[in-house]
Amino acid sequence: MVNAIYIIVAALGAAFLLGLLKSEKRGTAYVITLFALSVMTWISAGWVWAFVMERAAPVDFLTGGTSPPFSINFRMGLPEAVLTLLASLTGLLSALYMKDVLCALGQRAMAVLLVAVMALTGIILTRDLFNLFVFFELAIISTAGLMLLSEDARALAAGFKYLIVSQMLSVFFLIGIIFAYHATGTLNIDGMATASLGLKAGGAIAFFFLFIAVVAELKPFPANGWGLDIYESAHPGFAAIFSAATSSAVIYAVDKLLLIGGAEWLPMATGIGVITFLAANLFALPQTNDRRLLGYSSIAQTGLILAVLGQRDILGDNVLYIAGGLLLSHAIAKAGLNWISGLVAGRELPDWAALRSRPILVFAFVTFIAMLSGLPPFPGFYAKWEMVRILAGEGRIALIGLILLGLLIEAGYLFRWFGYIIKREVPAQSVRCSPFQISAIFVALASGWALGFVWGELSNQYFGHDNLLLAIPVVFALTFLLLDWLPAWVKNSIAIVGLSLFFYLTFSDYDPLRMIFAIIFLIGGAVILLASYDSKGRRIGFYPATMLMFAGLILLIRATDTFGFFAAWELLTIGSYFLILRGKHSEPHALSYIIFSLGGAFLILAGFALAAQGAPLFNIDALAQLTQPLAPWVFLLLAIGFMTKTAAIGLHIWLPGAHSEAETDVSPMVSGILLKAGLFGLIVLLMTMGKQQLYGVELTYVMLWIGALSALLGNLMAIFQEDAKRLLAYSSIGQMGYALFGLALMNHLGWLMALMFVINHYIYKSMLFLSAGGVAKRTGTRDMYRMGGLITLMPLSFIATLIGIIAVSGVPPLSGFGGRWIFYNAIISSEYRLPMVIIFLAGPIAFLYLFRLIHTIFLGQLKDEYRKIKEAPFWFILPQMIYVALLLAFAVAPGVALRRVDTYLNQIFPGGGLQWTGTEISSAYGYWNPVAIMIIIAVIFGTLFAWLLFVNRKAQKVKQFNIVYAAERPYRPETTHFAWNFFAPYRKALGFLVQPFATRFWDGVTNTLHTAADISRRLYNGNGQSYAFHLLSFVVIAYLMRMGA
């Protein structure tokens, strides 16, 4: 093992050597610089290898054999090794990245860079306070020097402000060191820790100075205006170092200091951290400048890590895993993002759309923001999970709330940014980059995924969770990243075969209830994917996203513990987000989808964490063992989380846009399949936890009301839509309301009905979405009133829609009736009566929008421009016809799917099931015979039809204007087709019910956040004096809070 001192030596030596070179020898100088950085990286990597693979023990050593301040006290342990590797690697990559700049500026710049990296490694390695101070000073000066590398004129001012603030901090630091040395007689950190500095006279104030000086380097709120100026004006290569390496080093310094301070300083760290995290994220929300946004995000992330360090009293040894995961995620992602920002010409966020010309950069961007947002399979995700789990176990609920809120805001602006990249117009100036720059980014990308794997392995090792990157569905999904160069039809075939094969291999694993979901997710997904054969070309990005969603769905039903469940939930959320974002105008809708989904996911996370009470592995079934007073809260959190996915009323506003703006074959996936994930969650929840009471309120009763209101308002809103797919989307809200209602009834038949709805809704909603999508594809519009009379041109789509609406409306003989029949039987045996009134009202309202759907599209008057359109593409029709067959089959023989479930439900709700005698199905109250119904209706219908054919055999087929028109004739089809605002009288009577209250509420929330951020942001006026004042007031406030107490 190479002595760690050589890390410092290499940098210093190289810097010294650079000074000797003639100024023309810039190439040589650059090579020397790279070499030095490589050596540093190599040494650090060697140490990491030693600690990880050979389980080496940490090494302490002193330079020169004397104790500080006359020598330097170093320690090399696993964290130090990793962090030095991080710092030096970032330095190396940034140097590569800044090749042009460095060569232009000459040796001195390279020397400063080397010194900066050296100083950072020094901060990480040193174990004594004095040298910490020295390295800090070095870092500050070299940072200020590096600032000048930027071509930005503001960099000079920013560097100067930075110097002012830093010198103030240095003064504090020095004073602190003096007092501390005076009190303990040692400069060694561990020595001070054992000497219990805090207990000594003046020790507390000494530590306060030390602590505040280092923490202030982390740019805590509000003393961070200067930091932002640096992020904004520095060269991106340097900003990467500043963001990734510097903050990591300083964080580690804080960590070391906290060792001295002991437990009583931890709350302060947490407080500062959380406030910084929240405030910085909030301020980032209205940012339009990319680098400033990155700056805010960096500040926020360091704040979060500080808060985590502040929780080390309860996190214990896990702090390394959690803080490390967050820190490395942050460092890699920020370095990567900063590097990418150097490739983008414009400084506004939408200018980043330029990245679209290079898919690999888009992929890198996604990876980085996923790492920042703590999404699987990256370290941040594991860290988030463990952190929340442990915090919840110790009852630190408020802290969880604040952190999750901050994460949500962060995800909000990051994904908004991603939306810009995917959806905004590509600016004229494209991405310009050298192979060096690309390789730097690529290394960050690769290490991000590698760390994801490492953290997954660690998670497996320590907490018994599965490594997500080893789960077969996820691997299958990620494989499509590599296969993206293949034509779409090949990938589609692979996807279909993959889904079917997975089902074939695993179908024996599922109980009847899960079986229904497995069939819908896997086989159902494969059927919908048939429609994807219609797309030509390569369809970059579609299959990884789709398969990621399906991977999430599959893992969801296969999950046995809460971690697996939650990870699957997040996976399907991200996958579906990417899918939805692909729609032409879906940018804002995809954003609201991801925000609501993540919000819901965080509630689920909190719920699971609360339930686990700190246990690392918590089986889902164990939810059943929860007791008062915990159980109802867990139930509430989880229920709201799942209801976000089923778009229960109030949480529904993301759904209409997201489902209607998605691509034609995506809409059925997200509507027919994805919504079921929420229902599955609710089923699991209700199955394990049953009825819960909170403050005397039966929570399932509340759900009953929510379900009923969703059914009513979803249906009501659907009838006022002009857009076919929006109508279907609102109808989904209503249908999910029914299913929610059925589940919340908490009896055998209610559940059976919900499951019947699950199956039915999958079939007919997928079919209707495909049909509407096919029509929209042919007509080029989704506005129903522009269509009309398409029945003769698109007969198969019409048949699909016809069968679909009969099934949705619940009219016999199709399968929707079975659902209604079970529904009635279910509510008779339930004691809740009032919410049913609402459901009853909702029922007939469905007819209104269903009729509108079929009438305004297929019936009525055909328009001029659509006279020559063709039937929807074969690949859209094929799945629709499969669904027609399925619906008919399911209508005649519902028992095939339901009988086993019925039996299975007896385990949960004993008794109250159905009797299946022959073809007749009966309950305690009534009976029906689907086969008989079908035959009777078919016979009656057939007889009458034959009779009409006979008497009417000479009927003259006429055309669309051959109508009686009060003795006039129609003028144009547009003015003859009664379609727009079809239910005008209804709006007059009940329109007041569909005021967009929920939309207004959520708009209000977002606006409030934005306004608050906008007002507070004026703190940062760019004035150095103000910043100094902020810093002082921060110190004073911190002092008062700590010492005054």
Partner: protein, 301 residues
Amino acid sequence: MPFDWMKIPYSLLTLFIVVNYGFFLNALIQKMGARAGRRYGIPIWQNYVDMIKNYGLRSSITHGAMFYLGPVFRLSGGVGLLLFVPTIYGSYMFSNLSFAGDLILALYFIFFGTLGMALGAGESGHPHAAIGVSRGLAQVSTAELPFALAVFAVALQYQTLSVTEIVAAQQGGFLQWTLFTNPLAVAAAMLGFLGSMMRPPFDVVIAPQEIPIGPPTEYHSAYLALMQTNRAIFPIAKIVIYMNLFFGGASDWPTFFFKVFLIYLWSAFVGVVFPRFRVEQSIRWFLIWAVPLGILSIILV
């Protein structure tokens, strides 16, 4: 249960009786309306003549497949509705095809004809047809609500969804009828009944002066004859449900004729007295006057 082929002729017999009674009753009610206006009104056999005439028309047109099927849907709905409910209580002969399903089947099958008819009318391309359907659907969405609530109240009261069992529970004197045991539900249902009979004040759907008779504007000849047949069957089929649920059912044909007549008379009586509501007025009317009764009946059961 093995299927009994005798059910078929029996059902046809019921159908035959009900069609004739329906034609008779329609004419009778029309005549009574005329008498209220001091006219003689149509001959009692007029509806038969009209139907024969319509079958006898030599030419007809069609606007397309759905237009063609509309009346078939309509009449199938009527016939099916009739046959899914036992007509005469305690009679095997006139229990029809009620083995196929219970009350819920009948309730949902009501919409079968409506939906098919609406689609057929829609394909005619006539804006008045679409306007009529729009009005009809809007109105029926709240008119059905009190009825649905009442049905539910009755089902709760008797703890069954089987029509036969509901009737059985009402045997033993007229005081056992739901009318007396659960008057609120009956009141709600009978108000809802008005809304589904296409008579004033709820006949804006087929407003002849304004949107020349709405959905059937384009229908004629044999189509119209089928629809007329349905107009004879459908109200009776519907009234049979009301009779069975609320008025003790009928255990022989005279009782059947009498009760059906009285229930039918109720809508006719209201119809000749009141003018017409606009759609949003009738929606409000049902929500304000009928639905609360239904809710009360559910809560108080």
